[in-house]
Amino acid sequence: EDQVTQSPEALRLQEGESSSLNCSYTVSGLRGLFWYRQDPGKGPEFLFTLYSAGEEKEKERLKATLTKKESFLHITAPKPEDSATYLCAASPSGSARQLTFGSGTQLTVLP
Protein backbone atom coordinates (compact mmCIF):
# COMPACT_ATOMS: atom_id res chain seq x y z
CA GLU A 1 0.00 0.00 0.00
CA ASP A 2 1.28 3.45 -0.92
CA GLN A 3 2.12 5.52 2.11
CA VAL A 4 3.43 9.01 2.85
CA THR A 5 4.56 9.92 6.36
CA GLN A 6 5.53 13.39 7.53
CA SER A 7 7.44 14.50 10.60
CA PRO A 8 7.29 16.30 12.88
CA GLU A 9 3.53 16.78 13.22
CA ALA A 10 4.09 20.28 14.54
CA LEU A 11 7.09 22.59 14.65
CA ARG A 12 7.50 25.94 16.38
CA LEU A 13 10.40 28.13 15.30
CA GLN A 14 11.61 31.56 16.20
CA GLU A 15 11.81 33.98 13.31
CA GLY A 16 15.14 33.40 11.58
CA GLU A 17 15.59 29.88 13.02
CA SER A 18 16.17 27.53 10.09
CA SER A 19 14.88 23.94 10.11
CA SER A 20 13.75 21.03 7.95
CA LEU A 21 10.54 19.10 7.50
CA ASN A 22 10.67 15.43 6.59
CA CYS A 23 8.53 13.37 4.23
CA SER A 24 9.18 9.66 3.86
CA TYR A 25 7.34 7.73 1.20
CA THR A 26 6.65 4.15 0.26
CA VAL A 27 5.02 4.08 -3.15
CA SER A 28 5.18 1.68 -6.04
CA GLY A 29 7.31 3.58 -8.52
CA LEU A 30 7.34 7.29 -7.80
CA ARG A 31 6.18 9.50 -10.65
CA GLY A 32 6.51 12.71 -8.66
CA LEU A 33 6.79 14.07 -5.12
CA PHE A 34 4.84 17.22 -4.39
CA TRP A 35 4.97 19.84 -1.65
CA TYR A 36 1.94 21.98 -0.90
CA ARG A 37 1.26 24.70 1.63
CA GLN A 38 -2.14 24.87 3.32
CA ASP A 39 -3.38 27.87 5.28
CA PRO A 40 -6.32 27.51 7.69
CA GLY A 41 -9.64 27.32 5.85
CA LYS A 42 -7.95 27.17 2.44
CA GLY A 43 -7.10 24.49 -0.07
CA PRO A 44 -3.55 23.26 -0.63
CA GLU A 45 -1.33 25.63 -2.61
CA PHE A 46 1.33 24.12 -4.87
CA LEU A 47 4.97 24.71 -3.98
CA PHE A 48 7.21 22.16 -5.73
CA THR A 49 7.35 18.94 -7.73
CA LEU A 50 10.41 16.69 -7.57
CA TYR A 51 10.85 13.82 -10.00
CA SER A 52 14.10 12.02 -9.28
CA ALA A 53 16.55 11.39 -6.45
CA GLY A 54 19.07 14.18 -6.11
CA GLU A 55 16.76 16.84 -7.49
CA GLU A 56 16.44 20.13 -5.62
CA LYS A 57 14.11 23.10 -6.09
CA GLU A 58 14.04 26.48 -4.39
CA LYS A 59 11.54 29.23 -3.89
CA GLU A 60 12.34 32.19 -1.67
CA ARG A 61 13.14 30.74 1.80
CA LEU A 62 12.11 27.19 0.87
CA LYS A 63 14.19 24.44 -0.67
CA ALA A 64 12.91 20.95 -1.41
CA THR A 65 15.17 17.93 -1.90
CA LEU A 66 14.50 14.32 -2.84
CA THR A 67 16.20 11.01 -2.11
CA LYS A 68 15.03 7.51 -2.99
CA LYS A 69 13.06 7.24 0.25
CA GLU A 70 12.58 10.76 1.57
CA SER A 71 12.05 14.37 0.75
CA PHE A 72 13.00 17.35 2.87
CA LEU A 73 11.62 20.84 2.90
CA HIS A 74 14.28 23.16 4.24
CA ILE A 75 13.16 26.52 5.56
CA THR A 76 15.91 29.12 5.82
CA ALA A 77 15.46 32.14 8.13
CA PRO A 78 11.68 31.74 8.30
CA LYS A 79 9.29 34.62 8.84
CA PRO A 80 5.90 34.58 10.61
CA GLU A 81 4.14 34.57 7.24
CA ASP A 82 5.68 31.14 6.59
CA SER A 83 3.39 29.74 9.29
CA ALA A 84 1.12 27.14 7.67
CA THR A 85 0.66 23.41 7.32
CA TYR A 86 3.06 21.91 4.79
CA LEU A 87 1.77 18.84 2.97
CA CYS A 88 3.79 16.27 1.10
CA ALA A 89 2.14 14.12 -1.57
CA ALA A 90 3.30 11.36 -3.88
CA SER A 91 2.08 10.30 -7.28
CA PRO A 92 2.64 6.55 -7.62
CA SER A 93 3.27 4.80 -10.92
CA GLY A 94 0.10 2.74 -10.56
CA SER A 95 -2.01 5.84 -10.88
CA ALA A 96 -1.85 8.63 -13.43
CA ARG A 97 -3.97 11.09 -11.52
CA GLN A 98 -4.27 10.62 -7.83
CA LEU A 99 -2.00 11.97 -5.14
CA THR A 100 -1.35 10.22 -1.84
CA PHE A 101 -0.96 12.85 0.86
CA GLY A 102 0.86 12.82 4.16
CA SER A 103 -0.78 14.21 7.27
CA GLY A 104 1.25 17.40 7.17
CA THR A 105 3.57 19.42 9.40
CA GLN A 106 2.00 22.41 11.11
CA LEU A 107 4.68 25.10 11.18
CA THR A 108 4.44 28.10 13.49
CA VAL A 109 7.03 30.85 13.20
CA LEU A 110 7.09 33.19 16.16
CA PRO A 111 8.16 36.82 15.77
Binding site: K42, G43, F46, Y51, S91, S95, A96, R97, L99, F101
Partner: protein
Protein backbone atom coordinates in the same frame (compact mmCIF):
# COMPACT_ATOMS: atom_id res chain seq x y z
CA UNK B 1 -4.22 34.89 -10.80
CA UNK B 2 -6.98 32.47 -11.89
CA UNK B 3 -8.42 30.31 -9.16
CA UNK B 4 -10.74 27.39 -8.55
CA UNK B 5 -14.02 28.53 -6.99
CA UNK B 6 -16.17 26.33 -4.78
CA UNK B 7 -19.68 26.89 -3.49
CA UNK B 8 -21.05 26.82 -0.91
CA UNK B 9 -18.23 27.31 1.58
CA UNK B 10 -20.31 25.55 4.23
CA UNK B 11 -23.14 23.04 3.80
CA UNK B 12 -25.19 21.53 6.58
CA UNK B 13 -27.50 18.65 5.78
CA UNK B 14 -29.52 15.97 7.50
CA UNK B 15 -28.42 12.36 7.32
CA UNK B 16 -30.01 10.66 4.35
CA UNK B 17 -30.34 13.81 2.27
CA UNK B 18 -28.64 14.45 -1.05
CA UNK B 19 -26.14 17.28 -1.49
CA UNK B 20 -24.47 18.79 -4.52
CA UNK B 21 -21.14 20.52 -4.14
CA UNK B 22 -20.21 22.91 -6.90
CA UNK B 23 -16.91 23.95 -8.38
CA UNK B 24 -15.80 26.26 -11.17
CA UNK B 25 -12.36 25.08 -12.32
CA UNK B 26 -9.81 27.35 -13.97
CA UNK B 27 -11.17 28.12 -17.42
CA UNK B 28 -8.54 26.52 -19.68
CA UNK B 29 -8.02 23.44 -17.51
CA UNK B 30 -9.04 20.03 -18.77
CA UNK B 31 -8.59 17.74 -15.76
CA UNK B 32 -10.79 17.94 -12.69
CA UNK B 33 -10.60 16.30 -9.29
CA UNK B 34 -12.35 15.94 -5.99
CA UNK B 35 -10.47 15.34 -2.75
CA UNK B 36 -11.76 15.32 0.81
CA UNK B 37 -10.25 15.89 4.24
CA UNK B 38 -11.98 14.58 7.33
CA UNK B 39 -11.11 16.71 10.36
CA UNK B 40 -7.69 15.75 11.69
CA UNK B 41 -7.01 13.29 8.87
CA UNK B 42 -5.12 13.30 5.59
CA UNK B 43 -6.33 14.76 2.32
CA UNK B 44 -7.80 11.81 0.37
CA UNK B 45 -8.33 11.37 -3.36
CA UNK B 46 -11.89 10.71 -4.49
CA UNK B 47 -12.07 10.99 -8.26
CA UNK B 48 -10.51 12.46 -11.39
CA UNK B 49 -12.45 13.50 -14.47
CA UNK B 50 -11.36 14.17 -18.05
CA UNK B 51 -13.16 14.47 -21.36
CA UNK B 52 -16.55 14.09 -19.68
CA UNK B 53 -15.80 10.84 -17.96
CA UNK B 54 -14.22 9.51 -14.81
CA UNK B 55 -10.57 8.61 -15.40
CA UNK B 56 -9.79 7.31 -11.90
CA UNK B 57 -11.62 6.83 -8.64
CA UNK B 58 -10.70 5.65 -5.17
CA UNK B 59 -12.40 3.02 -3.03
CA UNK B 60 -14.14 5.85 -1.20
CA UNK B 61 -15.94 6.89 -4.38
CA UNK B 62 -18.70 4.28 -4.38
CA UNK B 63 -22.24 4.36 -5.81
CA UNK B 64 -23.19 7.01 -3.28
CA UNK B 65 -21.07 9.54 -5.17
CA UNK B 66 -21.29 10.91 -8.69
CA UNK B 67 -19.64 13.72 -10.62
CA UNK B 68 -20.81 15.75 -13.54
CA UNK B 69 -19.73 18.59 -15.77
CA UNK B 70 -23.18 19.93 -16.66
CA UNK B 71 -21.89 22.84 -18.76
CA UNK B 72 -18.60 24.34 -19.90
CA UNK B 73 -17.73 25.87 -16.57
CA UNK B 74 -19.12 23.89 -13.63
CA UNK B 75 -17.97 20.62 -12.09
CA UNK B 76 -20.18 19.05 -9.43
CA UNK B 77 -19.97 16.32 -6.82
CA UNK B 78 -23.25 14.75 -5.79
CA UNK B 79 -23.49 12.74 -2.59
CA UNK B 80 -26.68 10.71 -2.27
CA UNK B 81 -28.15 9.57 1.04
CA UNK B 82 -25.52 11.29 3.15
CA UNK B 83 -24.07 9.60 6.23
CA UNK B 84 -22.51 11.07 9.35
CA UNK B 85 -19.09 9.89 8.17
CA UNK B 86 -19.40 11.98 5.00
CA UNK B 87 -18.77 15.07 7.11
CA UNK B 88 -15.53 16.54 5.79
CA UNK B 89 -13.96 19.36 3.83
CA UNK B 90 -14.34 18.64 0.14
CA UNK B 91 -11.77 20.16 -2.22
CA UNK B 92 -12.13 20.57 -5.94
CA UNK B 93 -8.96 20.83 -8.02
CA UNK B 94 -8.06 21.27 -11.67
CA UNK B 95 -5.01 20.98 -13.87
CA UNK B 96 -4.22 21.97 -17.42
CA UNK B 97 -2.29 19.13 -18.98
CA UNK B 98 -2.37 15.38 -19.17
CA UNK B 99 1.13 14.89 -17.82
CA UNK B 100 0.98 12.68 -14.76
CA UNK B 101 2.99 15.11 -12.72
CA UNK B 102 1.00 18.19 -13.52
CA UNK B 103 0.44 20.45 -10.55
CA UNK B 104 -3.05 20.76 -9.18
CA UNK B 105 -4.81 24.00 -8.31
CA UNK B 106 -7.16 23.57 -5.37
CA UNK B 107 -10.23 25.52 -4.37
CA UNK B 108 -10.84 26.69 -0.82
CA UNK B 109 -13.20 23.81 -0.14
CA UNK B 110 -16.75 23.13 0.99
CA UNK B 111 -17.14 22.15 4.63
CA UNK B 112 -19.92 19.53 4.69
CA UNK B 113 -21.57 18.76 8.00
CA UNK B 114 -24.01 15.86 8.13
CA UNK B 115 -26.28 15.89 11.18
Amino acid sequence: EPEVTQTPSHQVTQMGQEVILRCVPISNHLYFYWYRQILGQKVEFLVSFYNNEISEKSEIFDDQFSVERPDGSNFTLKIRSTKLEDSAMYFCASSSRGATNEKLFFGSGTQLSVL
